[in-house]
Amino acid sequence: MILRTFIAAAAALTSALAAAGPVLAHHSVAGVFDTSETRTWKGTITKIDWINPHTYIHLAVENDDGTVTEWEMESIPPAMMRKAGITRKMIQGEEGEVIEIEGLRARDGTENLAYILTITYADGHFYQLSTN
């Protein structure tokens, strides 16, 4: 089942990027992130790196013991966001807003690194940025 999910995810990512032009990097997302398991985090955005070839959201997540861990969460390039009508300000949401991110953890064991699939905001609206 896990293998099938992995293959399906790899195929989806491949087909999504297959028609991409010269500007897109073409290493596999599945080569960095574990597509066999989807995780969910809740927290507040502390910083956004609006850079190529991937944007990054820094999410402060409160742990069970009350400590806070900052996660670095990779996403699609700025131009893809722009083509979809999503701005940096829209990603940021309201100040202090608790958002939920569904994503994938890094395969290489790096702590607190993940890939974003969907961001959901407090009022329920969401941005589906990638799929698994």
Partner: protein, 257 residues
């Protein structure tokens, strides 16, 4: 005397008409939707301000693609003695591809311009690329410069052949690839681009790469057609890769054009 005046007036009229005809070139200026490398995206606005970027259920019409839609892929054919090198670079492209390290794509990998500024004696090509914001100056009916060093996107000159703008580029470093899959080239690479308007006013771009030292034959890319865009290009955010250090394998996906 009357005849001489008449002939003189006729000659002037002909010259004026000729000059006018010489200036009646297609207007290639404007912003063109070449897909920006993401022509396959058909994002959807959902209820409640939600947006789906990838993996969205697509209506049949949208799935056919807009700007940047591509025909079957085309790849350069190398001489037999270089095919092993290309195969090796292909296998290790996650480690070797300069674009993955945010270097400029070079030509023809850069693709058609995102914006064209057209003047009587020169063109300016502008690009909003993941690797950076690039520009190319294309003087018309000029000679190639000999006072500049090789660069990623070289030295370009242009001229009109009928209604087609021809652009020849030389003096490129060998740090770039022609396309994905280990398509290396030498510093003797010469690229000729043909830009014209289709009947419905879209920009058609075709490029041919000449590198006889390593290519079995000139590589002519598939034509790409870009409709006029209703947006303005913006400055590309800086390209700073953070992914490659976290790759646990060399998996990659096809990226044909």
């Amino acid at each position: 005397m009357t005849n001489r005046l008449f002939a003189s007036a006729g000659l002037a009229a002909l010259l004026t008409a000729g000059a006018a005809m010489a200036q009646e070139r297609p207007d290639l200026s404007g912003t063109w939707d070449n897909g920006g490398g993401i022509g396959f995206l058909n994002p959807q606005n959902l209820e409640g301000q939600s947006i789906c970027v990838t993996g969205c259920p697509q209506p049949a019409a949208a799935a056919s693609g807009g700007g940047g839609a591509r025909p079957a892929p085309s790849l350069p054919v190398y001489k037999a003695e270089y095919q092993e090198r290309v195969a090796d670079l292909t296998e290790r492209q996650v480690d070797e591809d300069p674009v993955l390290r945010c270097l400029p794509p070079g030509l023809p990998r850069l693709g058609p311009p995102d914006k064209i500024v057209q003047a009587e004696d020169e063109f300016v090509f502008l690009y909003e690329d993941v690797s950076g914001p690039f520009f190319r100056m294309v003087p018309l009916n000029a000679e190639h410069r000999e006072d500049i060093d090789p660069s990623y996107h070289g030295d370009s000159i242009g001229w009109w052949e009928g209604d087609t703008l021809m652009v020849e580029t030389v003096s490129m470093t060998d740090d770039t690839w022609l396309t994905d899959n280990g398509a290396f080239h030498t510093e003797n690479l010469r690229v000729v681009e043909e830009l014209s308007l289709t009947d419905d006013g879209a920009l058609q771009w075709v490029a041919t790469a000449y590198d006889p030292e390593v290519l079995e034959q000139p590589w002519r890319l598939n034509p790409r057609v870009s409709p006029h865009a209703d947006w303005e290009i913006v400055e590309s955010p800086p390209c700073i890769d953070r992914s490659l250090d976290h790759m646990v394998d060399d998996s990659y996906h096809a990226n044909p054009r």
